[in-house]
Symmetry: D2
């Protein structure tokens, strides 16, 4: 099995240029390629398992960086597919969010707060199926700080490559505006429906 590059149905976006998206999709493809590369290298080095045990284990330790780099970009671009659509107040996510944050809009306020975390990485919104609550965290790079075992509701790429074709780092909040302007909440709400 090899991981395949996914295609996304992206129309013209608000506040994110087509060059920005093109560059970003190119980086996504690099992650898919390197996920497969690690698996091939491990298979190759495993021919001589004993001599290469250290190297194999270090490649495996690095797997999360490439795998998450691939998967998080897939969650990200999926959210922009078709065209932007507003939050549905009848969705299960609306109910869970209102319960935790007081209103559905407050989830966006909260996400913006977490997005202001220093450094690069991702804002990731999870649902804890055991604690029955939403958690929004900042993950450094792709693999430092993921909540273990929790399904994902929404992600925002906070690497500099996600916006620097269009914006400089001090304009991060304009980038966040652009992300929110383009979110198709149908995809996000559907993820939550599948969890419950």
């Amino acid at each position: 099995m090899k991981y395949q590059i996914r295609k996304f149905n992206l129309s013209v976006l608000t506040g994110l240029s087509s060059k920005q998206i093109e560059v970003h999709l190119g980086l996504y493809e690099g992650y898919v390629k390197h996920v497969n590369l690690i698996r091939e290298k491990i298979a190759e080095l495993s021919q001589n398992q004993e001599a290469n045990a250290y190297v194999i284990n270090e490649l495996r330790r690095r797997f999360a960086f490439e795998f998450n780099g691939m998967r998080l970009h897939e969650y990200y671009f999926e959210q922009f597919q078709n065209s932007a659509s507003v939050q549905s107040m009848n969705s299960a996510l609306a109910r869970a969010t209102t319960e935790k944050y007081g209103s559905y809009e407050n989830l966006s306020v909260h996400i913006r707060g977490v997005a202001s975390t220093r450094g690069i990485g991702w804002v990731v919104v999870y649902f804890d199926t055991i604690g029955k609550t939403i958690h929004t965290v900042f993950v450094s790079e792709h693999e430092i700080g993921q909540l273990t075992g929790l399904p994902i509701i929404l992600v925002i790429d906070m690497w500099e490559h996600a916006f620097m074709v269009d914006y400089v780092p001090t304009e991060k909040s304009k980038y966040i505006d652009a992300v929110f302007a383009n979110l198709n909440w149908k995809f996000i709400e559907k993820r939550f429906d599948l969890i419950k």
Copy 2:
């Protein structure tokens, strides 16, 4: 909502002393306490959101350490509940494992290989519901290298506190033997059943 300390139905274990388990359960409780502490501190500092934005975000970044520390220990102790029981060749996990590794026993061989990774952390076995395959990785500490969004099948604690009441670090393989001797595969196979 506060996270609660879970109780585990642990009988006498093979190769892991009751003092070892008692010390380890005490550390687990510390994680639950600190998950709640971070949430309280964030709530407290949020009274003055603007002045404390940096501190709040840094606490939130650290959340994964405590949350995963809590949750991974719960997966770990759950696997030892009731008493050890062997792998069921009729389980869905047996089929998935045989497909990937050639046999069910080979999963254990593979886990042992990953467990020999240098450093402290966890061996975590996930199922990628999109790629339809099992991934076994080494997570450093509790939060460095978790695979994003994937449900968990099996975990082994590779922190030194998990075995140093009974063994010295050069006897890690004896500890792994003890873990395998005590696994109740019913819990592990059930996790996999719930994913599919």
Copy 3:
């Protein structure tokens, strides 16, 4: 004591636009500001040491990110000061490099290899004063993978903000060319002289 923003004597650079440098210097200033902010927050929270012990320790853990972000940028911009100047074959660094890599130019080849490491961070060239040898490593972000206690000879910023005003991530090698075109080796060689 507060850390102060350093000023650098930068003329027009080859392959790095003045906007790129301006944006980058702005980010550097953010690190100085946040180094001081952490110190102030710790002082403030220490008024109530016991209740805030957890928060204080987590801020202190994060200190390296901001401190290294400040210091590494200072090393980086310092290397571009005045104007580019070539390697001196009579320098002590030339001798140490020739001993390790066969020639002084090979240090640059080696640095380019390390700069191709996946992810963002820094290439850092150190001298191990105990082992009497040069080590060139890739540091993730600013603080993951620094060699302990070793003085620094040369750094290259491999964050995306260092080049994305002028280049896209697939043009990283053009950025590295630009860095090398602008290095004033007098500063680099002098650092090494001060170590010996």
Copy 4:
């Protein structure tokens, strides 16, 4: 050049059993071995540089873990050599510490505070030769959070292997007591003298 295992002149210590020290020295030797192993593996894989570029870079990224694991243990055991000796109020370190913390003893109080940081790693006391001040931080594992380019004054191993032969993790403060009871400050003060 290969890194060599250093021998330390350790007499009977207070509060740290000879088995604890023996186990710990064995782990130290493992780091030296793996520093050399990484260098050998990189040399071996570099025979086919192009095909192995990814693997080489990932081994190089990991170098800091093993190198710091080696070097920090050397700093640690060195501090216990000969026999414990008290702080000298006439030392340059006494003056610098009094300036920053109000008294020499307060450095120890401060170190104890930092040592209570959650997780495993090291307390490291550095001197910032540019900012002319002492910084005490908690480094996770061996390589996450080192202050770049700063010389080292004092280190305390906070991995569980450093004390779990003698103490359980809830007795960490007894371990810290034992460390302080055995410090030969002559070595620590001499490090500081060499910096100035």
